[in-house]
């Protein structure tokens, strides 16, 4: 979407972080605010993102501060290494994601019923496998960001969110 790309470019050109006090534990301010301060992938070795400093022996903070002094607005190394675009795409709106889950879930139900009485239909089988992949992906995205849809996949480790999100029959529910 065009609007998203524009936002991405604007963010990339913003000064990265708090006046050169780049701290791997502080969320990169260029990141989407909605991500609730998830650290920029460049700074988290755990995320297997491209390491910010290619030369690991050189202390990261120093390399970064040198770049900052060079050019406040555009940190060349920042742009080169940052796989932010790929890894931190803005999460789709909850309603849009839910709508896709309804559509894919229904396509699955319908295909399963058809395959029950036509188990050798190759086209139907192909269709099933396509839908299945996308469905699982979208279900996982929703569960990570918005709340559990299956009690076998509750992500919150501090509270049983299964009983905290609205029930489907409530007007605010799905």
């Amino acid at each position: 979407m065009n609007m998203n790309n524009q936002n991405m470019n604007t963010r990339r050109n913003m000064p990265c972080n708090q006046n050169g006090q780049c701290n791997p534990n502080t969320p990169c301010t260029r990141d989407v605010p909605r991500n609730q301060g998830t650290p920029c992938k460049r700074d988290m070795p755990r995320n297997q993102g491209t390491p910010y400093a290619q030369n690991r022996s050189m202390p990261r903070q120093n390399a970064y501060m040198q770049d900052m002094r060079k050019n406040e607005m555009n940190t060349p190394e920042c742009r080169k290494d940052c796989d932010m675009d790929k890894d931190r795409r803005p999460m789709p709106d909850r309603r849009m994601l839910m709508k896709e889950i309804y559509q894919l879930g229904f396509a699955l139900v319908e295909t399963v019923l058809y395959l029950d009485t036509h188990p050798a239909d190759a086209d139907a089988l192909n269709y099933y496998h396509q839908i299945k992949k996308r469905y699982h992906m979208v279900m996982e995205m929703y569960a990570k960001e918005y709340g559990p849809l299956l009690n076998s996949n509750v992500m919150n480790e501090n509270y049983w969110s299964w009983v905290a999100t609205p029930m489907p029959w409530e007007v605010e529910g799905c």
């Binding site: 309804y102 019923l113 029950d116 299956l150 076998s152 489907p168 007007v171 529910g173």
Partner: protein
Amino acid sequence: MWNYEKRLEYPINIKKTDPTMAAMIISQYGGPDGELGASMRYISQRYSMPYREVAGVLTDIGTEELAHLEMVSTMVHQLTRNLTMEQIKGTPFEAYYVDHTAAVWPQAAGGIPFSATEFQSKGDPITDLVEDMAAEQKARTTYDNLIRLCHDPDVVEPLKFLRAREIVHFQRFGEALRIVQDKLDSKNFYAFNPAFDKGCGCGK
């Protein structure tokens, strides 16, 4: 066995309450041709189906009917939220309110409680599948009648979805019947009951 996703099969968001409509729609929950009966019918019949395609389709459609009865209950619940006594008095919902307040309980629109006598599980594949096809048509007609009674698009859209599903289920049961017939003697389908008679050579 059953796991579930924490969502409806089709979104329902009814903004305007209507206890009269709720008293009618409840027939598709606990009525003679409602989703509870459909689900119990298919889930009961599946055990005596000697062919896995047929047992599979009965289980999967029986499961979808559970999702439908959830939708119908949700509609009844949303149509009867926050009612005042003036909204209840003089409507067909009044008698139901006396016994159930604004709870959901399986009965027909006429008040007859749900009962297993509203379905059969006969233990003969042809008999059972023909009953299932009839059940889907009865449900479709009931939805036709409900849609004619209703003008709120928030209510009509889920009813239209449910009605369309009944037609698809009818189609699937027809195919299941064909599968059973294909496995029987084409000169006499009634020569024996493949669910019961021993040595029938059924493909289980």
